[in-house]
């Protein structure tokens, strides 16, 4: 379980959000939604201490991640996989090596074992033939799928997605949404998805956290969200529905 306790973050004088608190149960898929620029990606980077808050705690298995020393923090980070917005693939190596990268450094697997695991991961994201491609040859959707294959290769406990469907066409977005659901089911993962794509939220999430006006504006299950009359949330979801319908 991940427990977020009263975390606040600002950059200089610019307050991003304050006193954000909620819990993410094991095996859940949580969507963190909100307008562009409300600090969703900043929030995500606090979960594995890529960023530190001004105050507050993130507790994982009873330990505050911000109080861990660097060697403990590195071990904790290995329990997370992250799909970054642009994939964050290493452009000096090809697709296969990108996925193999964590295995080469963090396991004692032989080359044959690494090859087998990478091909399995590529198959899971439907990119069996892309192993030899340079990352510059990959489309936006392919980059995200390769990023996802790399994120799951060490079989993490938590999988974080930063805007997994942004910049993708609707069909590719649906494929990514299906992958998110199948990853959660296959590996019994706890997933946290940052998005402002309500179509994606409705396809994948069980719980929703809504960031608005520099705070956690609303938190609840997907069914509660559908019935909610919380004005900022209704305004946000209605705008999305309008876009889908028109």
């Amino acid at each position: 379980m991940i427990e977020i306790k009263n975390i606040s973050k600002s950059f200089g004088d610019n307050l991003i959000w304050e006193n954000v608190s909620f819990k993410i149960e094991d095996g859940e898929t949580l969507a963190v939604i909100g307008k562009s620029g409300c600090g969703k990606s900043v929030f995500l980077k606090h979960l594995n201490a890529l960023l530190y808050p001004d105050s507050g705690e993130v507790i994982i298995d009873g330990k505050n991640v911000f109080k861990l020393d660097y060697s403990e923090l590195r071990l904790m980070r290995q329990r997370f996989g992250i799909l970054f917005q642009g994939g964050a693939l290493f452009d000096s190596i090809n697709t296969f090596e990108n996925i193999a990268f964590p295995l080469r450094y963090f396991t004692t697997d032989s080359d044959a074992e690494i090859k087998k695991k990478v091909q399995e991961a590529l198959a899971m994201v439907n990119l069996e033939e892309a192993g030899n491609k340079a990352t510059s040859e990959l489309s936006g959707g392919m980059r995200k799928r390769v990023g996802l294959a790399r994120a799951i290769i060490l079989k993490p406990d938590y999988l974080l997605y930063d805007e997994p469907t942004s910049g993708l066409d609707p069909q590719t977005s649906d494929e990514i949404n299906e992958l998110i659901v199948s990853m959660a089911d296959s590996f019994d993962l706890t997933s946290i998805v940052i998005t402002h794509d309500m179509h994606s939220v409705l396809s994948i999430a069980e719980k929703v956290a809504f960031l608005d006006s520099q705070k956690l504006s609303w938190f609840g299950s997907i069914d509660e969200m559908k019935k909610s009359e919380h004005p900022p949330l209704v305004e946000f979801t209605t705008a999305s529905e309008y876009k889908i319908k028109t």
């Binding site: 590195r74 992250i82 970054f84 964050a88 963090f106």
Partner: protein
């Protein structure tokens, strides 16, 4: 205030790099890559710098000493000593601030703004050990080698320019070069290049590693890395000369 903050961040990065020295398996592969990129791939430009520095200095010194008051071989003394003590190290350093420093800051800056460094950290990697340490190590180890090449070719360039231009025969040049050759001058040149290697790679790593703001941010980081490297080369050259000469 901003300068102090930057100094603090730079010191912290160096501390993190120093603390990561024992993680050899993390940076071994990148270290050998950087030996090639910083050392081997800089040899062509260093050959040009060395040869032309020595050649032009010979022609100019001969022009300025075109009088019967000094023996001709004194040109060889002045050229060889200037190249060994000062020019091979400083001119190579300034050129490499552009070639090596710009490459390092652009590479790391691009990795930062495209979240590749975050991706490394999120996997549990020590990104400083993986990216910064091998570049600084390769810089401080390869710059003295490049200095020796530049200094040797500087003297050879001087000999050839003097002979081809008919100013003084090669034997006369070498007589002058040998009469005022002190081994400690070479040690001083090596020490300078060692410091310049550290200055250029550490500043460029710092600027690239902390780049932000997309393509413009990478551009700014690269410009700052190159300009600051040049300034600190000149400053450290002055300080070392004041202390050691």
């Amino acid at each position: 205030m901003e300068a102090l903050r930057q100094l603090g961040q730079y010191t912290l990065l160096l501390y993190q790099a120093l603390r990561s020295v024992t993680e050899f398996s993390t940076y071994r592969k990148n270290l050998f890559n950087e030996f090639v990129k910083i050392g081997y791939q800089s040899i062509p430009i260093i050959i040009l710098v060395g040869v032309f520095t020595g050649a032009v200095l010979t022609l100019q010194t001969a022009y300025q000493l075109d009088t019967d008051l000094y023996p001709a071989y004194i040109v060889g003394s002045i050229v060889a000593q200037s190249v060994i003590i000062e020019l091979a190290a400083v001119i190579s350093g300034l050129v490499l601030a552009g070639k090596v420093g710009a490459r390092i800051s652009t590479e790391l800056g691009t990795m930062r703004v495209s979240e590749q460094i975050d991706a490394l950290e999120s996997m549990g990697f020590n990104s400083v050990a993986f990216l910064v340490l091998p570049r600084i190590f390769a810089g401080i180890l390869m710059f003295p080698v490049l200095y020796i090449i530049a200094a040797t070719l500087g003297v050879i360039g001087g000999v050839v320019a003097g002979a081809v231009d008919g100013i003084l025969p090669a034997a006369e040049f070498m007589k002058g070069a040998r009469s005022f050759f002190f081994p400690e001058d070479v040690v001083f040149g090596i020490l300078k290049s060692f410091v310049f290697g550290f200055v250029i790679t550490s500043i460029s790593c710092f600027k690239g590693y902390n780049a932000y703001g997309g393509a413009e941010g990478v551009g700014n980081a690269t410009t700052q890395a190159t300009v600051l490297s040049c300034i600190y080369i000149l400053l450290s050259d002055f300080i070392l000369s004041a202390i050691l000469l």
